[in-house]
Amino acid sequence: METFIQVLIDGMLSGMVYALVAAGLCLIWGVMDVINFAHGEYLMVAMYVSYWLGFLANVDPVVSTVAAGAFIFMIGALTYKLIIRFTIGKPGLVALLATFGLAIFLKNLCMNQFSPNFRIMSDTWLSGKTLHVGGLIIALPQLTAAVLALIVVGLLYLLVNSTKFGWAIQATAMDREAAELVGINTERIYILVFGIGGACVGVAGGIMPSYLAVHPEVGSMFGLIAFICVAMGGFGSIPGAFISGLLVGVVEALAGFYIAPVFKYVAVFGLYLAVIFLRPKGIFGW
């Protein structure tokens, strides 16, 4: 029983981080109908930002996560300005392929610049620290990341649902032309949405070096899982992305422990298929 709860907790902690990565993707997808294939690479770049800040200026990841968020915000906005802008209104595949190119570019640029070596930060405030609650062990870095994820996703939800800016985003998502008619600068909304979507994954990447090694390939799997979360949650639904992120984390952990570790991703992808066959528009989709 204790093992079960332990596995469950571990799953939930990693699930929350998946949720944060997915939330950014979800926002972009929901507003622009663009699948950002370079999302995992954003995460990787953010981890490098955090790593180098720690290495060169001795800043702890907990602090530099803000900087990483801001940096990826800029990368996101730049991506929109330079690439995505030209793909709006074209078939959805175009943006997907363009971002696929971007992913290859970013991954290899980082490899070129920072070498393929993996890098670990071992003397951070959080690294290696654990909380012992009864017989349970909770890793502090993962817990911090999860709490951070909860906060950021919460803020994002509030931003979209109860601010004027959020309403403008929603209006743009529903009908771009109509939104322009009522005086919304949709171009600016798109830039900001891409930036904010990037910032979410930037924050996630910023905190991760306290427990995960940084290397150019690190983002790929996270990116793939984020796609699954977003599609499972339903088109553009942030609560949907959050819940399915959590679900993915838990299923991954349970399947990994109770079936076999090699099957943990099979279980995650299988879960997606099962959900999507029952509800073709995702859990929260309409």
Binding site: I35, F86, T87, V94, L96, A98, F105, N108, F269, P280
Partner: protein
């Protein structure tokens, strides 16, 4: 309008151009500059293979409009069909190829039936998930070699074993045969009722149904056909490389390559996959040959930028560029005549 004839599509002047092109391809190994340079022949073989493979994808993805990222699964099944025939059972690859093709078609129908109920990105991501599942299941499945993969023993070369060691000319002609089979089939489909139905389903499923088209059946048949052809290409791929393991044939990267080539050339057109392959494959092979050894991933950086540029600048693909240029030229001509 360029290239949009309303005449009978059973045979047109374009086909003569195709036949001439084919004659040229047949003659290629006799050109000394290529015959003496096995790397050039290698690039040509890859172009033919990937053009064929992308054309197979084009049936369902381009003509029928169902963007599947799952085709490496069928490619892989074909590869394993041939691989297991030779390595596990010590036979010639031919029965394996046939079984692989049939199996791929069956698997395609089974997995795409539920997937066709999904729309847009949901469908695309479902096919991602299927590739990942197949990849991981094959990695632990000992009967098919698991993570170890299947390695070909050194056996006699020739058409019987579909294997050549000294020269690549044999491989080249087999690739050419596959190319002719798949392109010929798609060409035939283009002028046939089924081809029109596929495009009608792509353009509007409800409209097609209102005109008496059974869209589900059209999509399933197109998928089965596409998967069987993909498996054929896969079996050639494994005969060419003499080894098969899951990351090599059943990965998202592989799937992306088929999609990328087709989109780059122009999806839903006959010549598109060939155009895409003859740009992307030399780019990939030569840039790796020239810069790969430097180790900085420079080739891939350039590759990434080029994909972005291509896709963003002309989403209709290379065929779109050609169309633009022709339109531009004809406009210029009319201006001069005035």
């Amino acid at each position: 309008m360029v290239g949009r004839s309303v005449e009978l599509k059973t045979f047109s002047s374009r086909d003569i151009a195709w036949l001439a092109f084919l004659a040229l391809l047949v003659a290629v190994p006799f050109i000394p500059a290529i015959a003496a340079n096995s790397f050039r022949l290698h690039v040509l073989i890859l172009i033919l293979l990937f053009a064929s493979m992308s054309q197979a994808w084009n049936i369902i993805g381009g003509y029928c409009g169902q963007v599947s990222f799952g085709h490496s699964v069928f490619f892989g099944i074909g590869a394993y069909g041939a691989g297991m025939a030779v390595v596990t059972y010590g036979m010639v690859p031919w029965p394996g190829i046939v079984v692989g093709m049939i199996l791929a078609a069956v698997v395609a129908v089974i997995i795409s039936y539920p997937c066709f109920k999904l729309s847009g990105h949901y469908f695309a991501i479902a096919t991602f998930a299927i590739v990942e599942i197949f990849n991981r299941v094959f990695l632990v499945w000992d009967w098919v070699g698991g993570a170890l993969g299947l390695d070909y023993p050194i056996i006699k070369e020739g058409i019987g074993n579909l294997m050549w060691h000294q020269s690549k000319v044999g491989y080249y002609y087999i690739a050419l045969v596959i190319f002719v089979i798949i392109f010929g089939m798609v060409r035939w489909l283009e002028g046939h009722r089924f081809g029109y139905y596929m495009r009608a389903v792509r353009e509007g499923q409800e409209t097609a149904e209102s005109l008496g088209v059974n869209s589900t059946a059209v999509k399933l048949i197109a998928m089965a056909l596409s998967a069987a052809m993909a498996a054929l290409c896969g079996s050639f791929f494994v005969q060419y490389n003499l080894r098969v393991d899951p990351p090599m044939v059943m990965s998202l990267d592989m799937s992306m390559k088929f999609v990328l080539i087709t989109i780059l050339g122009g999806a839903g057109t006959l010549v598109g996959p060939l155009l895409g392959a003859s740009v992307l494959i030399p780019l990939q092979e030569y840039s790796r040959a020239i810069w790969g050894g430097l180790g900085g991933g420079v080739d891939l950086i350039i590759f990434g930028i080029l994909i972005i540029l291509m896709v963003v600048k002309q989403p209709d693909g290379l065929i779109g560029i050609i169309r633009d240029v022709r339109r531009w030229l004809s406009k210029k001509r009319t201006k001069e005549e005035l």
